[in-house]
Amino acid sequence: AQSVAQPEDQVNVAEGNPLTVKCTYSVSGNPYLFWYVQYPNRGLQFLLKYITGDNLVKGSYGFEAEFNKSQTSFHLKKPSALVSDSALYFCAANDYKLSFGAGTTVTVRA
């Protein structure tokens, strides 16, 4: 069985400050890991993925994520957050059948 945990329900940061959204995973075999973002009344929008290769993955809108096998983590990061980054972020594992974390609401204040 596989599972994904997002330990923080909410993350609040000031615009221009670094943003980190945490994710840990438990999967059998090689992990395929993803980050999605959901804006109000919208679908899930793909941000980035880790399949294999470099542990630091770069994605859309300036986001990146670091795969850490020893800590079974895949934290999402952005060096300088924007107000427009305020949304609901989901970490997910596997590709044939995504298992989602509970989601983290990010609020970036001006």
């Binding site: 395929y32 679908g43 793909f46 995504l98």
Partner: protein, 111 residues
Amino acid sequence: EPEVTQTPSHQVTQMGQEVILRCVPISNHLYFYWYRQILGQKVEFLVSFYNNEISEKSEIFDDQFSVERPDGSNFTLKIRSTKLEDSAMYFCASRWGHEQYFGPGTRLTVT
């Protein structure tokens, strides 16, 4: 850029009625999915579909649910007799390589 589309965006139905949620996946994708998100809860896998048959389904996907690809473009989810607890946002997705592309969702409200 091609995208997954879903209709309707919002469906209100009475308990016990049948509903069909429609999806048009991206045209050259071969794997299709339905997920649901009950308000305030995480997104849950319902079913995957490949080569005109179900490849995997969750325990949520009981006999009340069915999926179909009636033609070369549409992918439908049918709920035969809706229950109050079926109220949720239903997302369709199609997959290319390792990435799943999601539609905007259909909000189903069962009264």
